[in-house]
Subunit: 223 residues, 2 copies
Amino acid sequence: MNSKINTQQKILDAAQNLFAEAGFNDTSLRQITTKAEVNLASVNYHFGSKKELIQAVLQRYLQILMPRLDQEFDVLLAKTKPNHLPDVLAVFVKPLLELNNIQRKGTRTFLQLLGRGYTDVQGHLRWFINHHYGRTLDKFVLLVQQSCPHLPQSELFWRLHFALGSIVFTMASNDALAEIALADFDEAVDIEGVIHRLIPYLSAGIAAPVFNQTTVTPTRTVA
Amino acid sequence: MNSKINTQQKILDAAQNLFAEAGFNDTSLRQITTKAEVNLASVNYHFGSKKELIQAVLQRYLQILMPRLDQEFDVLLAKTKPNHLPDVLAVFVKPLLELNNIQRKGTRTFLQLLGRGYTDVQGHLRWFINHHYGRTLDKFVLLVQQSCPHLPQSELFWRLHFALGSIVFTMASNDALAEIALADFDEAVDIEGVIHRLIPYLSAGIAAPVFNQTTVTPTRTVA
DNA sequence: ACTTGTTTGAAATGTACGTTTGAATCACTG
DNA sequence: CAGTGATTCAAACGTACATTTCAAACAAGT
């Protein structure tokens, strides 16, 4: 009775960890089914295809995280005064860390998967998230706009993607970076530490003044 | 006489464009040799393996760019006073744009390749660049350290990788992002525009104050 | 023109992949 | 306990890949 449900879960659990470590393209169904101790054909039986398995792995987290974020955004949007940008970004922290309650190392795994999703399969995840959770994302963009009224829409667009880049790249490389940090600075860094390091960086970057004339140095020798 | 040299160049040219567009893993030698109009075996004959071809593609740019950067760093290091961070970052602009003289769309292609290199083949490019151009990178880190004396080494390490993430992710997704920007804001953005948009963002992010106590909102209800 | 070393060509090799198939096994119901 | 639908299993299928092979074509020196 629990065998069939167990198979799906075992596949999802094995897949998410392998995907997070090595990326989607570089993880084969054979690796997944071997690790999950299920038959190779069961992935196609239960999920249809590898692509749909990837979506299922991501959905397991997204369907928990996004509604949580949505309600947090609503709270901030209800306030009369615009929120400070660091407070807007800090909204992500609690819902993200709550993923650890769903699954051991849930936060870390999800963020790594997110990183893989954006870098491995170009465009697919971006479309998927926008399609399923566009409403929630719009609320976030609105909040950022309200905190940074000096930023034109197009500038904000680019900066939010710069920020997404920092997050996604950091998470995809998280293991490698944590390893270096440990070796070079004797500093053990968990995912929560990285998140809290990211916030000031992202806040300052996103809210930076628009025309930074110091971009071109005031050297008079330049042609 | 020019046939053999031409073959190598034709392979490199075809490979770099396909790699930049689709990534290293998702570009096959068959696609490359077809586009280059050379025989499939010639890649292995001239470069040994696909891996070595990837290195050759990257090296063609790096061996031009890195010495240029190195000398620019030396100029800034020679100054008696610490440089402002935006000036340090702006050092990249000229050498990067000079890649357009070497090759049409050279800057764009190289930056996309860099993005692919960091996201596709985890760790390899990081090792490769560190191994071949570690000296130059150290100069850059030193310059940033001098401009941001308030930042502990470990904080700087993370922030530089956050910055690398913004760059690499933006460049890997450059086509998709430019497309969205064009559709949503009627705004055509070339690679130079993106670079100049990045500098204020990166400057502010890297130099952000360290302990941002607003990171955690003053909610007393947290357990 | 013949020889020598380099480069190209077409074909084959072996491996890994995602997916499909059909029989065997299981869990449950009437 | 026979029957039925869902699940598992071993095996195979077809495709795509990087790489190798070896003969043919080529360039250059003597």
